[in-house]
Symmetry: C2
Subunit: 271 residues, 2 copies
């Protein structure tokens, strides 16, 4: 079938590569011509076309930054073909689901591929990015089951495992399991900035700060799009840290040990 | 030379293996006979002997848990040979340096090998553990330069890089670069315990929680021994998290972006 990609960066480019590897035609659109040129050179798309042409594809992947996703989704809604299915790839589903409640489009499937890379742009795209990755969909009561199945069966061709969850639950879990770790990593490296060296560090520091260098423009948008859930998990996290701190101040060794025991138990279950 | 090991667990066992590989004789002592049996079976020591015999070795490594280090150091002080040098391996130097200010022993060298493993016991020991690792010493004004050099030259044989720093600075840096990451990892997995699954997680979650399963008994002792510095870094960490949370609540995109920009800059310098 003919696939459209709006926004041919890391994710859009990788979707294009995976779709072409499975025999589909891929039309791309990007506001920046230099991104389009790299996408063509890397073989992510068959050709770069106009926004209106991309909007006629059978399935359009909306791969724009979080701050633009609702306005581009609206624009697509008014220009797309009558049978065209659109699915987005942003990591907070709340804004899109709220928009859908008024746009009421059964052929718009809110989605989130759990994949990425610390570098951005089509230069780093890969047709293998979704192999074994979870691809989450957060359908609303209005979502067409048929359209959802069509998108799921396409991304299954890319090697992804499809999961359906409620948008609120998705946003909370992503805030906890991905956004919070990124905030922590960034806060940690900032604290060590005044040190002459990090010679006294070992494996734990290396691991906890690996994702500290992510793109500031993209990540500020990601956090703001999901700010309600992120603020909620930050509250919970802060009180856990404060409570451990209190047990340390009180030299309550049993409570400190219980904190690590709970962690050890939770860790064993998460493997 | 003859090396003594008091406490033949993971670190003591690894020191024994490294010393024997470099042609030294190794005498071990442990309160638990089962630990001694494993240490002999693994070749960590030439023989297990009494506390008083170990105390006559040329250099004695004190590798007991943090809560026991000061009392065992005192015991060693009154039993050891007149030329015997003692060095400990605990990760907080404050308690030992405070004890030294009254014990006033120029032949006691406070030390901290920056190495370890998420499993404990001589079963997991390795003679390679210190290759390329930093071994920190925090001498006091009373410390014998000659004794310090003798210990440094021995652990250099194990492949370690020796660094001398002030005990307070050491304790602050270790609190920041090692103890804080372990607290964070434990707090994180505890937050995810109520979830049915962590399917929505990716590489950042895996990395930030790797060290969450560490030994609760050992780690509660480590934190308590260094509680002043740990409480200080927890304060700083909490306010960084709170300030990021405030910028999110206020939807101050520039401030959120600045937070990640500072991190990106710090991360680049730490590599």
């Amino acid at each position: 079938m003919t696939i459209g990609i709006v926004g041919c960066g890391l994710i859009g480019g990788s979707i294009g590569l995976a779709a072409r590897a499975n025999g589909h035609s891929v039309l791309g659109f990007d506001l920046e011509s230099v991104v389009g040129a790299v996408a063509i050179e890397r073989g992510c798309v068959d050709e770069m076309v106009s926004f209106v042409e991309v909007a006629q594809a059978e399935i359009v992947f909306l791969c724009v930054p979080p701050s633009a996703v609702v306005s581009v989704a609206s624009e697509l809604r008014s220009r797309k073909g009558p049978e065209t299915i659109v699915t987005d790839c942003t990591s907070a589903k709340g804004p899109i689901v709220r928009w859908l409640s008024s746009a009421n489009d059964p052929n718009f499937i809110p989605g989130h591929p759990m994949a990425g890379h610390e570098k951005s742009g089509p230069k780093f795209s890969s047709g293998w990015m979704f192999r074994g990755a979870t691809w989450i969909f957060t359908p609303t009561p209005q979502t067409s089951k048929q359209a959802l199945k069509k998108v799921e069966s396409l991304v299954a061709e890319f090697g992804a495992k499809c999961v359906r969850v409620d948008a609120d639950r998705h946003d909370y879990e992503v805030a906890l399991l991905s956004h919070l770790p990124h905030v922590i990593a960034a806060a940690l490296v900032g604290m060590a900035a005044p040190l002459d060296s990090t010679d006294a560090s070992g494996g734990s520091w290396r691991d906890l700060t690996r994702v500290a260098g992510v793109d500031p423009g993209l990540w500020s948008q990601i956090l703001l799009a999901n700010r309600e859930s992120v603020v909620q998990v930050l509250d919970d996290f802060k009180s856990r840290i404060a409570s451990l701190q209190e047990t340390l101040t009180n030299q309550d060794i049993e409570a400190v040990e219980a904190f690590f025991q709970e962690a050890q138990k939770a860790k064993a279950k998460q493997k």
